[in-house]
Symmetry: C2
Subunit: 223 residues, 2 copies
DNA sequence: CTTGACACAGAACGTATGTTCGTGTATTAT
DNA sequence: ATAATACACGAACATACGTTCTGTGTCAAG
């Protein structure tokens, strides 16, 4: 009996999977049964089929019977999420929030691609949007003019979450860590050397979304 | 003569391309010549081959002759670049730079995936690395504790580029926009409210890399 | 010692598959 | 009018290809 590795895979299972991945990545199409055999040192097409059947049963590949090269890696979905840039965010303007029922299609809209692996788990499922920062007003959030802020829709927040807040009385937008404390809210800047804003619970405060990520593409500075 | 569309593509060319894209996306492997014929209303395998030859000549597909389903969309490379996180960057420590000949393989190393579409053009070709920010010392660069800085190797810089600099005399690392001016260097903070550092050309200054991008994954703040 | 499970192998087979050839029509250039 | 080119097609062909069948060897359990 061959030595089993993780998940009940033998070395031959693993080499077949690795070869399949390599073929899809390098040549753009899956290998045939005979090509798998040659690459993995299996001299018989029936043994390759024997292993492919097991990999199918383990859910690691999918096959469409009888057709050539009809192998599929089931979880090879798109690696990036395209997040629409729905507008800008600036200190003195209300925050733009996408309408609930609107979807953004194609390339007409500005968008930013974000690798799914660097998004927090649950955000992968939710409808993210992005805002581009305009002006120097977000410095206390350590966010620069031109940065892209990835948001998820929210009208409420838990303590410690960073949110986009519109303060109507002050006509001000801000990005802050949000805390409920006694009779007021504390809006804590990301810059630890700066002081928080204390907002009385009498004062209107609108949470427009939660900040998930900030992306800064470094461009050359002018003199 | 059939009506030509953009780039000299006839309707049949376009339908073949669309079908190829659809097959790769939906079933995970390319179609055969006969499948293309059925899907596009072309009854003869030699006509399909005639069109595939033209699409190849236009650079829109690639074929590996004689093998089944050996069609490839040439620009369908991986959508993300995996950038290794080679260490941390902190104010009082020299900057870690990956050795020239070393490559990072597999999952042993921390890494961050970056969508290729948000990288500047030439960085896609070069060997990027990432450093994780430790401490509050990069605030003047608008960079927070925990941020990930995507770098490209460099020992020289042009005016206006953001670089990672190690000042040996001061035992200090800093991220600044770099300017050569007369008898000194000006290291300009990203935070426009902060003053630059002026470094005499007599003082040692080591450029360790150029900053390409900053990624901040927002986590919950503690009280 | 026997049996069954597992792993492996080669051969045979029918179908899938891509290429080549010959033919036809329409349009454009000479 | 003729030739060249583009577009279209069916048939034939050889090879690629996946499945099935039969067989062997090893090992563990009974």
């Amino acid at each position: 009996m061959m030595v089993r590795t993780r998940k009940g895979l033998t070395e031959r299972h693993q080499r077949i999977l690795d070869y399949l991945n390599e073929c899809v990545r390098e040549q753009g199409y899956p290998p045939s049964i005979r090509e798998i055999g040659k690459a993995t040192g299996i001299s018989s097409t029936s043994v390759v089929t024997y292993y492919l059947k097991q990999l199918t049963e383990m859910g690691l590949i999918e096959r469409d019977a009888k057709y050539s090269r009809a192998l599929r890696l089931p979880n090879a979905g798109p690696e990036v999420t395209r997040v629409p840039i729905v507008g800008v965010i600036a200190a003195g303007e209300p925050i733009l929030v996408p309408d609930a029922g609107v979807t953004y299609i194609g390339d007409e809209m500005d968008a930013v691609d974000v690798a799914r692996s660097i998004l927090p788990g649950r955000e992968k499922e939710e409808r993210l949007y992005a805002l581009k920062v305009k002006g120097d007003s977000m410095i206390d959030a350590m966010i620069n003019d031109g940065d892209i802020v990835i948001m998820k829709p929210a009208v409420q927040a838990n303590n410690g979450e960073m949110v986009a807040i519109w303060l109507p009385d002050r006509e001000e937008t801000t990005l802050k860590y949000f805390f409920k404390e006694g009779e007021h809210y504390r809006l804590q800047p990301a810059n630890p050397t700066m002081k928080p804003i204390i907002i009385s619970k009498d004062e209107p405060l609108e949470i427009k979304g939660k900040v998930v990520m900030v992306i800064r593409q470094i461009e050359r500075a002018s003199l």
